[in-house]
Symmetry: C2
Subunit: 642 residues, 2 copies
């Protein structure tokens, strides 16, 4: 096949690639990281580069203006090399690689009465072996097993070959005194022999921490808690953006990107592993430990994140009939997974229920106690997929609604993630229509994050700036409401007060996207309640998980009809319930069993196959809802304000 | 550190190495394979190379003549680089890399009543899964487990991550019809869940073979039997020299070589893996199968071979108090071991007893039935370590005597391995002292192999050419007996009748070496019998294992006092009992359990710590023995012939 030389202006050297190579791939080979937030679908337009000479063929130029096309701009993810090329790569949008808020840290209480001896599967034993001599030529391994039998009544052990290779040297280095770290129970093989996880020369003091980690792989943020398994205490909390973001902002984009080639799949795996391994470094440094000391990890996350982490093809999550390759992942070792910790460390990926109800939701049910209460409880993780669980000790039903990424700031013109510069709460004066807002980090705003959008939408509705259908009242006496490119819009911040000097506004299109998002979530509640035949009024608690949920203003969320109208004391915001569940499962084998029961017990309702969902969705497309009797407190507020 | 350029005459390019690099290592880096039969101890002199210019320092020049040293010859394994060097590498001794006899093939009977359903741990199931749809979104893995539950009453499975990654694609490729290969029991975790070993799209006919392999890793020869686990039949038998030979001819040399560096250890591992993987290729080709179809392997071999295969440091096998790192190796997968077959294939390394009583002996006891008879049995594997077992159903004692490699043709001037050109049997006329001999392959002789040496020694003794102390009677009227460099010698073949044109003779030194070897083995018998307090006469069977043992002439072996003097019908030669044991353990889980019992039951007696061994050895240093009453039939023959 013919080969061509592609010269990128910012690359060290030209690369030679065969005809038909995707430009994005050529860039990767040249060591250039071109952002593909839509996963290389040609939809977002953010991978545009300028071909200044040579021959390339594009199959799509969506999102490129005629002027740009005129100037030679093409989408790197949609353009193949057909001859020698010279390419100018515009400065790439800066990906926020560091979380800039301290929102991730929280005080975590150790479960009451935590006793590592009865609860923890990882155990540490100090052993004194008798050295071999001509009268006792027992092999090293049996000698270790004998000591364990005497010390801990554990008759035999499993061990990996790489650790077995090192046993003899460790025993001699410790002069026959060693500390053995065992996993006494792995989840998928309770009857299996205990497994040697680590063997340390000499005696490790009882007071030394025994490290474990709970991890939540969010589509956006990866969080890691470093835990002393002896005391149960969380000693370090760290979080970072998921390195996969540059290859797709949502799960669908990432599945598409990963599914394109084995290389892509490997890249996605390495990206998230890179993030996790950095977090291990950071957390361990903070407590002055080495990642090699970490003996056990539990991982939570949605089904797509779990598949991509493990290099398991995720394509069928995206394609009808939407099935995962595996929901209950076998216990793995850190070496198999690719974590840069003790390669023998047990890695326990928590169980999911379905393609869009993953381990994060099982973990959320566990940590929220939804499965362990007599009160009928509605649990929701507000986000792209609005996973919802309704139930109690007796029964659990669950569904996921494709709310889209509007609440995560995507699909909204001035939307952004909840980082420094994001407007996170808005109040609008009912008389002057002038806004007041709070910005994360206290500086000039750059955009509006999810909680800000909910708050803003509620205020616009209650002040009559938009009507129940989301239409802007452009006749109001305020310059804030104006005709924009795609209909009415409301200016939250004038350009002279923003970081980038542009107005920050919410448009008609944004409002429609937000309405669809909130309608999908509310319709999910409706379908779940209908499926078990209970009226909304019988719901006794409303638990909101997800780190995003933590910052929602309940009143505003009810105002727009995102959350059901209930007494305030029914609501509870729980923060990242996914990592909390991972933490509980890390500590206590009974919690681990419980989460498996949860995943097995939950009845999954596929909304796209449910014929009541569409009606429920259409009814919820209004502010707050077609059926106002469902929102008595909002009706009252409307009356008051209006 | 300073670096130097070393130029080897036969290398493509010079190499640059730091001061102090061993010349053998520099050669390896230059891609040159320099033989080190003594393992780089500087004892054999076969790695001599000529330094024609530059500065090198040798710590030993054993085996080099003053002339050679004058000419710049040095031992590559004992010489370090201290400046730029030019080195001439003499043609290396050709290592016989191919076994040239067909001695390895034998007709193997399938155990009577072999029933794969009850005996075999590897099982194959044809499964028809229901495809997923919107009404059944079960994940792929659970779908497979459900089918297995229905078909085979197996509720859950273990699976490795690499295989799990492929499950979804395989199910779809087979359009939801698949054939699953499971390991239903691994040795070290009988209670564990069955493990998925292979998943094949579509339906595999019941008549298709299900491949397994039994392997014996001998210090000299590696043998492999390819077995259909359904019928139990051995479908291909292949053997090859162990690729490690060039790095040491005996286990001690290899331990020393491997222990020098991690690189060396890795090299030794790769050498034997190379041999095994070639054997897999060859055997699979013969039956028109792919190595990827092999689902299970059992491996036998001495403890050193097992350690080196698995990259487990073997140093302590060589050093007092002579302990192995591990005798009972956990079940491994082919991927972990490095076998180029199905990476999920179960690899079961059979259990050994001690540093010098390895899995080959446990396997020998199993296949010889020594552990399952009422008759008091003496089992011996004649070879460097003369491993011996005495016992019956009731009890088993074992020892290993360092016989040295004389019976394998090493340490004997004209000794060689039993390949083409080796004199394998000798008869000496009592009147003319002229010999008659048989040569393997029927051509001109090159040397004498072990069975030939035993035969020759017996003849020399009975014809009075040597006396009971091994002294040559140089006064005999024959040119065959003459004074050599180190005392008397006997010429077996004149140079005009040999392949290389040199006389083939046995010298006084050779005889001493052979005497020590046979004395060590016989002394082992004595110590074992004494340890349990039974007289030799009560021994009811004498079983001789090892492929070498098969070719010994019993009468001659008794004549020289190597084997005890018993009625002929007590003797049985069993060939390679090690691979036979591996074969039985491969086929039947009950045999596998039995071999573990054997390894656990055998009482090991360390001869170097036994104070009766030395006396027994000294008494056996004569032909046939100091105590002639132990050899009544030899006494009689001496009377007759003499």
């Amino acid at each position: 096949m013919a080969e061509h030389t592609v010269t990128f202006d910012i690359a060290d050297e030209p690369v030679v690639v065969p005809t038909g190579t995707m430009l994005a791939e050529a860039a990767r080979l040249a060591g250039i990281d071109i952002m593909q937030p839509c996963g290389g679908q040609g939809r977002c337009g953010r991978c545009a580069v300028q071909v200044t000479s040579g021959s390339a063929r594009s199959r799509s130029a969506q999102r490129l203006s005629p002027e740009a096309i005129e100037q030679g701009f093409v989408l790197a993810c949609q353009t193949v090399v057909e001859g020698d090329l010279t390419v100018v790569v515009p400065p790439q949008e800066k990906v926020e690689r560091r979380l800039t808020t301290d929102r991730v840290a929280a005080e975590i209480a150790v479960p009451v009465g935590y006793d590592p001896h009865s609860a923890q599967t990882i155990r540490r034993f100090s052993l004194m072996l008798s050295p071999p001599d001509m009268a006792d030529q027992t092999d090293d391994w049996s000698r270790l097993e004998t000591a364990l039998r005497q010390e801990a009544d554990i008759p035999r052990l499993r061990v990996s070959l790489p650790l077995l290779q090192r046993v003899g040297a460790i025993l001699r280095e410790g002069e026959w005194q060693v500390t053995a770290v065992l996993d006494t129970e792995t989840w998928d093989c309770e009857r299996c022999l205990p497994r040697l996880v680590d063997l340390i020369p000499g005696r490790v003091p009882h007071t030394m921490p025994l490290w474990g980690a709970a991890i939540d792989i969010g589509t956006t943020t990866v969080s890691l808690w470093l835990v002393d398994l002896i005391t149960g205490k969380v000693e370090a909390q760290v979080a970072e953006y998921n390195g996969q973001i540059a290859r797709g902002e949502d799960v669908i984009s990432r599945i598409i990107y990963a599914g394109k080639s084995d290389d892509n799949s490997r890249e996605m795996r390495e990206l998230v592993l890179g993030t996790i391994n950095e977090l291990f470094e950071k957390a361990c440094k903070r407590v002055k430990a080495s990642p090699a000391e970490v003996a056990k990890v539990t991982i939570s996350g949605n089904s797509t994140m779990m598949h991509l982490l493990l290099g398991i093809p995720a394509e069928n999550i995206r394609l009808s009939p939407f099935v995962t390759a595996v929901n209950q992942i076998p216990t793995l070792s850190a070496g198999e997974v690719g974590l840069d910790i003790n390669p023998e460390a047990t890695v326990d990926c928590l169980p999911g229920v379905a393609s869009y109800v993953g381990a994060d939701i099982s973990a959320g049910v566990l940590s929220s106690g939804t499965d362990d209460t007599d009160a009928i409880t509605l649990f929701i993780d507000v986000g792209t997929n609005g996973e919802t669980v309704l139930g109690s000790r007796e029964w659990l039903v669950t569904c996921a609604c494709s709310a889209g990424p509007a609440f995560e700031g995507a699909g909204v013109r001035d939307g952004m993630r909840a980082t420094v510069g994001a407007i996170e709460e808005v109040w609008v004066n009912a008389n002057t229509f002038e806004p007041t807002y709070r910005v994360i980090g206290g500086k000039q705003p750059r955009g509006i994050c999810g909680s800000g959008l909910i708050s803003l939408l509620g205020e616009l509705f209650l002040t009559g700036i938009i009507d129940k259908g989301g239409n802007f009242n452009v006749d109001l006496d305020t310059p804030r409401v104006r005709e924009g490119e795609h209909g009415g819009e409301y200016v939250v911040a004038w350009g002279d007060g923003t970081e980038h000097g542009r107005d920050i506004a919410i448009t008609r299109v944004d409002v429609d996207n937000l309405l669809r998002a909130k309608a999908a979530i509310y319709a999910g509640f409706t379908v779940l309640a209908d499926s078990v035949g209970i009226p909304f009024e019988t719901i006794e608690q409303m638990l909101v998980g997800g780190s995003f949920g933590k910052y929602i203003n309940i009143e505003k969320a009810v105002d727009i009809g995102l959350l059901p109208d209930m007494p305030w004391d029914h609501f509870q915001f729980l923060g990242n319930t996914s990592i909390k569940g991972a933490y509980l499962a890390l500590l206590d084998k009974r919690s681990r069993r419980r989460i498996r029961d949860i995943a097995t017990r939950m009845t999954y309702i596929e909304l796209s196959a449910d014929n009541t969902f569409y009606d429920a969705f259409m009814s919820a497309l209004f502010l707050p809802h077609t059926d106002l009797s469902r929102f008595p407190s909002v009706s009252e507020a409307m009356t008051t304000k209006g």
